[in-house]
Symmetry: C2
Subunit: 434 residues, 2 copies
């Protein structure tokens, strides 16, 4: 994938035709498991100019240009027990400037410090902003790993293209993130369930108003030590099936990890909380298709009359974020269903199927009434799996069974396998050593 | 509207019930023309805490607390002929900090300078950002006026409530903006068609990650001298009726001037440009309802078989921004239709009707084929009125008549009246003296 020729049909805007847009909207991130897919431009210095959509030979992000300035005043990491998600940041950050004139500049690892941006910077006015979230884990041997960081880099590039921010070599950023983590690795708490949350972010920094591709941008990465999402074991949550607000729509941005997807959900979450629910269950259309759970992907399990258990996940139809945890859960469940890697506790191969398919609230409600709704859960980087025990829908509550540990019979074995891989106790190509 | 009692039913979140949400989504800004409506909290120090939704007695924005620091190095305003929209800013800016603990702080007018924000500031990650745009005009006597600034402040508060940013006393901000303009009034070019573009902005500045109402925010206002949108007379534009992307959806944020509405439109505009069109005509639903034109409101005029000319504007159904120019055009057109204020050149009273109603592309296409499509135009602060001469729709071009001056017979008299009011040659309560 290093030649201009192989890139042109995929990322030149001359051929940015509708079928390709649809492919951009629905990236099959799971392909990246075994192949180097098109969104990560390995060792390429060819970039797409968001001003013109044309390929250019402006510099891509180059690890060899990294400049490191270490802090003179390192902070003392706080007691792990006092950590609140996203409130504490490590000593250093990574910053990589981009301009339409000179391409990606030299990456800099420097002391964590405020950004100075013109009040006219486009990020403040037009939400030219996107982010990723992933975690670095320290295993029992002290080894530090990232979980499928290539997936985050692919999605970050997909998000960038959706709002005309510059794309970049995802591999180079993974390597730079590793350098950053190595510098701040003493910030990863040495306790089970703790990790370092990594937040890559890309913003438009053009200092002039105007709704257009920005002439300048900044990619930066910050790191925050975090504790377990459920320090006292799983706590199932109640969802409010929301009919007053929507998270995404066809032709919109629901499939991208853009900043613009998040602020509008806060009021809806507040209103759900006032009604006694923890999060929104986002629906679509008059059929009330299930799309997402708060800021997580949605899963449910049904027991059919023939005895087969079906794990259902709404498909990547353009409304749904292609979550890394979502993809991992689907992969592990499918590997079990196909007999490739059996997970203890899941129904035996012939009695377990996995489907990405549309599912309506009507179907969920009927299954619950018939006693066939086995479980319902959300997936995401922060919580990994978040069990649901109740859904408020059109004035009624749908009750969902959960086990004594808060989980259900399908999510439990998958969660064990997934977390085992993440923390390094189960070997997997998904673990990338820092 | 100064008592707690009168505010509670309207802005307490305890009663933030669905009907009110709908009213928030569909503000009838035109009411503000004669009455002090609910979104501007005149002389009140009661604010709504976005963390809890409750009313608090934390300080609102107070003009009396204004602190002014004048620049030591004033810039030389550039030659008017060299101005590019949004690229040049005046010597000073207004900044007002807010925190959930202490409410709105002292307003500061200070030299225009970069903002220093933590990389973790929520505006960079979750698009907690919104803005307004209005202009200050200098009339032939040297008097400086703003056009309906109360409308912008009301909408800014409506936008803030939609993303759980703090609301504020809009009158106080108008007064503070006046002080800012007086300090930088020599930046308003003394040429016909030139003005000072004012950009009030509100961003979430909480320095911790987490998708929730921010604990800190910043309201700032910057000013940019701008030239006429059409320096060589009106230039009608071609629109691409867009079926691949959507701007807004029911339950979303299309009715609010949020930053999140803008970045997602850039790629769609680029693709329209590649097809030979200037802007997107945003549609909704399988019926292809017309919603907006680029970042402007949409209008069209139809001649009916009975000889009546109908000015049509899509209604504020939650998908459409309640534009100040939109509202002004509707008011002027209705005043003519009712005989209150006749505009020379428009069809006589009984032969002219104004309707806010849904209109589909099918209706537009049929009217064009029947020779009944009189004109089509966009309205917005920047261009005031932007005539359209062609719409690409499902592979065909719909041609729209325009006069030798680029305008149509309905928009021309309305534009003359509106611009006359804006620049001060026609007296109107809409003009607010700085």
């Amino acid at each position: 994938m290093s030649s201009l020729r192989s890139l042109r049909p995929l990322i030149s805007c001359r051929r940015f035709s509708q079928p390709l847009i649809k492919r951009l909207a629905l990236p099959n991130l799971s392909e990246a498991r075994t192949t180097s897919s098109w969104m990560t431009r390995w060792n390429s210095t060819v970039t797409q100019d968001p001003m013109t959509g044309e390929l250019t030979s402006l510099p891509d992000i180059e690890v060899s240009r990294l400049e490191i300035t270490e802090t003179n005043s390192p902070k003392q990491p706080p007691a792990s027990s006092s950590l609140v998600f996203g409130h504490t940041f490590t000593d250093h950050m990574l910053a990589i400037p981009w301009s339409a004139v000179s391409g990606w500049g030299a990456p800099k690892i420097r002391p964590y410090a405020p950004l100075a941006l013109a009040p006219s910077a486009t990020v403040f006015h037009y939400a030219q902003a996107l982010f990723e979230g992933l975690k670095a884990y320290r295993d029992s041997t002290g080894r530090i790993t990232l979980f499928r960081p290539d997936m985050n880099m692919k999605r970050m590039n997909t998000s960038a293209a959706r709002v005309a921010l510059p794309t970049f070599n995802g591999d180079a950023v993974i390597e730079l993130v590793k350098r950053l983590i190595r510098l701040d690795k003493h910030w990863i708490p040495d306790l089970p369930g703790y990790s370092l949350y990594i937040r890559p972010t890309l913003i438009g920094t053009q200092a002039a108003l105007g709704i257009a591709p920005p002439s300048e941008a900044l990619l930066f990465v910050i790191c925050s030590p975090v504790g377990p999402y459920y320090p006292q074991g799983f706590k199932p949550v109640a969802l409010y099936a929301t009919t007053e607000y929507t998270r995404a729509a066809p032709g919109g941005i629901g499939a991208y990890k853009l900043a613009a997807n998040y602020a509008p959900g806060v009021v809806a979450q507040k209103e759900a909380a006032k009604k006694g629910y923890v999060q929104n269950l986002w629906l679509h259309g008059p059929e009330h298709y299930i799309t997402e759970v708060g800021t997580m992907n949605a899963f449910l399990a049904l027991k059919h009359p023939d005895g087969v258990t079906e794990l259902v996940c709404p498909p990547l139809d353009g409304l749904i974020l292609p979550g890394v945890t979502r993809d991992s859960v689907l992969n592990l469940a499918r590997d079990h269903a196909s007999g490739k890697t059996l997970l203890e506790g899941l129904p035996e191969s012939g009695k377990f199927v996995v489907n990405e398919r549309p599912v309506t609230m009507g179907e969920v409600k009927q299954a619950a009434e018939d006693g066939r709704l086995v479980e319902f859960f959300g997936t995401g980087t922060a919580a990994v799996i978040s069990p649901v025990n109740r859904i408020g829908y059109l004035g009624e509550d749908i009750q969902i069974p959960t086990g004594p540990d808060g989980m259900g019979p399908v999510s439990r074995p998958i969660w064990k396998q997934l977390v085992g891989i993440q923390v390094g106790s189960i070997p997997s190509p998904w673990s990338v050593v820092v």
